[in-house]
C-alpha cells in the first residue's frame, strides 16, 4: 500500500476518541482520553499542550496505531487507523534508535524492511549533520544527535504524517532550542502533517500552526489557539510581541486548568479561556459530536 504523497494527503480526523485503562470495575478504571474530537489539515503543524498525565501521549499512541481506542476512532484521509503504518512516522520521547544498529543502518531501516531504495540515506545523514557518525552506534551519540538521527530515520520513510511525543524533553535547554529550529526547517522540506506533543509552552507556540490545550482527568480538548506567526520561524520569533502575548494567554489557560481541578471535582465545569476565537470551535466540536454514550 503506497501512502498518498500528494500534497492533499495526511488529513487526521479524531472523532469521539475515548481511551480507558485498567480493571473491570468503574472505580479501577483510569480515563486517559475522554471523548476527544480534533481535525488536522494536511500539511498542518499541530502541537498538543498539556500537563503530564493529561492523556496527550495516549492521544498520539492512538493516532500512531500503537494503542486501540476504547471508543471513537481515528481516520487518516478517511481510512480508519487499525495499526502502525510507515506513512505515520513516530519520534519517541526517549530515543528509540536501535542500539544494535549503526546510525546509517538505523536511518536505512524503514526503506530497507519495506524493500524500498535506500539511496536517499546518505543525503539525509548529510542534511542532519550526521555524516561523520554514520558508522557509529547510538550509544556514541549525544542526546541532540540521537534525536536528529531518529528524525532522519523517520524522514527516510517519507511519511505523510509525523508524530512526535515530547522528543526534546530530555535535552538541555540550548540543544532543545536548536533542535526545534532544525525540526521546523526539516519539516518545511516535506509536506507532511505534524502532530507534536509537549508540556513546554514556548515549544508549542514556536512549532505550531495551532496549539491544542488539553485538560487533565479526563483528558480532552480545552481550547485550540491559532499561532499567527510568520514562517519560516527562527530563534528571534521567541522575542516578538505576538509570541509573548500568546505565551501569556496559554500560561493563564494552563494554570487556570491546574487550579480548576478542585472545581471539577466539585462538579463544576472547567472555566474556558475568555478571549481567542478558536477555543469556541474546539469546545463546540467536543460538545456536539460527543453525545454517543460515554459513561
Amino acid at each position: 500500500m503506497s501512502p498518498g504523497r500528494e500534497s492533499s494527503g495526511g488529513r487526521i480526523a479524531i472523532e469521539g476518541l475515548t481511551k480507558t485503562y485498567g480493571g473491570e470495575a468503574d472505580d479501577e478504571r483510569v480515563v486517559a482520553v475522554d471523548d476527544l474530537d480534533l481535525e488536522i489539515e494536511p500539511g498542518e503543524f499541530v502541537t498538543v499542550l498539556g500537563p503530564s498525565g493529561c492523556g496527550k501521549s495516549t492521544l498520539l499512541d492512538c493516532v500512531a496505531g500503537h494503542v486501540e481506542p476504547t471508543e471513537g476512532r481515528v481516520t487518516v484521509d478517511g481510512d480508519p487507523v487499525t495499526g502502525p503504518d510507515p506513512s505515520r512516522g513516530v519520534v519517541f520521547q526517549e530515543n528509540r534508535l536501535f542500539p544494535w544498529k549503526t546510525v546509517r543502518e538505523n536511518v536505512a531501516f524503514g526503506p530497507s524492511v519495506r524493500g524500498r531504495s535506500t539511496d536517499r540515506v546518505p543525503e539525509l545523514l548529510e542534511r542532519m549533520g550526521l555524516s561523520s557518525f554514520a558508522d557509529s552506534y547510538p550509544s556514541d551519540l549525544s542526546g541532540g544527535m540521537a534525536q536528529r538521527a531518529e528524525l532522519a530515520r523517520l524522514l527516510a520513510n517519507e511519511p505523510s504524517i509525523m508524530l512526535m511525543d515530547e522528543p526534546f524533553s530530555a535535552l538541555d535547554a540550548m540543544t532543545k532550542q536548536r533542535m526545534q529550529v532544525e525540526l521546523l526547517s526539516a519539516w518545511r522540506e516535506t509536506d507532511a502533517t505534524a502532530l507534536f506533543v509537549t508540556h513546554d509552552v514556548e515549544e508549542a507556540i514556536l512549532l505550531a500552526d495551532r496549539v491544542v490545550v488539553m485538560t487533565a482527568r479526563p483528558g480532552t480538548v480545552k481550547t485550540v489557539v491559532d499561532v499567527p506567526l510568520e514562517r519560516p520561524r527562527g530563534h528571534d520569533a521567541r522575542t516578538t510581541e505576538a509570541f509573548t502575548d500568546l505565551k501569556r494567554r496559554l500560561l493563564a489557560s494552563i494554570h487556570d486548568e491546574a487550579g480548576s481541578e478542585f472545581a471539577a471535582e466539585a462538579g463544576a465545569r472547567p472555566a474556558t479561556l475568555a478571549d481567542g476565537g478558536d477555543d469556541g470551535d474546539g469546545d463546540d466540536a467536543a460538545d456536539s459530536s460527543g453525545g454517543g454514550g460515554s459513561p
Binding site: 500503537h66 544494535w100 552506534y137 550509544s139
Partner: protein, 288 residues
Amino acid sequence: MSGAATVARVRRSAATGATTFARRLEAVPRSARRAVSVLAVFAIWWALVRFGVAGFAFFVSPVETAAAVAAHLTGEPVADGGTIYLHAAYTTARVLAGVAVAVTVAIPLGLVIGTQRRWERFLLPALEFLRPIPPIAWVPLVLVIFPTVRLGVVFVVFLGAFFPVLVNTVNGVRSVDDEYRRAAASLGAGDREVLRHVVLPSALPAIFTGVTIGVGLGWVTVIAAEMITGEYGLGHVVFQAYRLIDVESVVVGMIAVGFLGAASTALLSAAVERAAPWLEGAPTGVTR
C-alpha cells in the same frame, strides 16, 4: 555501661587498624598485590605438602607438578595410556558437540516460548518439569537408554548446556522493550522483521550469557560423565589416575581441564565482542 564503652573503643580501634591497613595496601602497586595473591596459592600448596598436612603428605608439590606438566606436554602418556592431547581432544569434542546441539535447539525454542503465548503454555511446563533434574543424575539412565556410551556422554553435555541457554533466551526475549517493537512497526517492519531486527538483537546479550553458562556447565558435566562412565577423556584420566594412585596425573588432568575451561570462556567472550560490537562499553540498552 563501661563494658559497652570498652566494646565500642575496641571496635573503633579495630576499625582504625583496618583503615590504616587499607591505606597502606593502596600504596602498594596493583601488579604487586595481584602477584602476592597468585604466589600465595603456590606457597600454601608447597607448605601443605612440605609439612605433610593430612593427605598432602602423599601429594605432589608445585615443583613436581610443573615437571609432570612439562613431561606430559612433551608426550608422556597419562594414567593408563594415551597422551594428554588425545584425552583433551576427546573431552573438547564432546563439549563442542553437546553445546552445539544445545544452542541449535534451545535458541529457536526460547524465541518461540518467549514470543508466542499459546506455544509457551504447551512447551514450558514439560521443560520446567525436567529442568530441576541435574544433568549428571541422567548418567545412569543414559547408560541404559543409549546404544553407545560415547553418544550418551554427549547427550549429558547437551542437557547441561540446554537449560541455561533456553532460560536466558526466554528471559532475554521477554525483556525486550516494547517501544523498540513499536518503533520498528511504525517504520514498516512486519512480524518477521521485528523478530529479526528487534527481538533477536535485543535478546542477544542474554543469549550470550546463557551460552557462556552453558559452556561452563558443559565442561562440568563432561568431566563427571567421563569419570562415571569410564570413557576416554580428561575426566577419565583424573579418575583412572586416582585408582592407580598416580597423583601426578590427577593434578595434571585437573590443570588441563581448568586450562581448557578458561580458554573456552575467553574465546567465547572474544567471539561475543566481535558479534555484538554495540555492546562494547555501552551503558544503555543492556540490562542484567
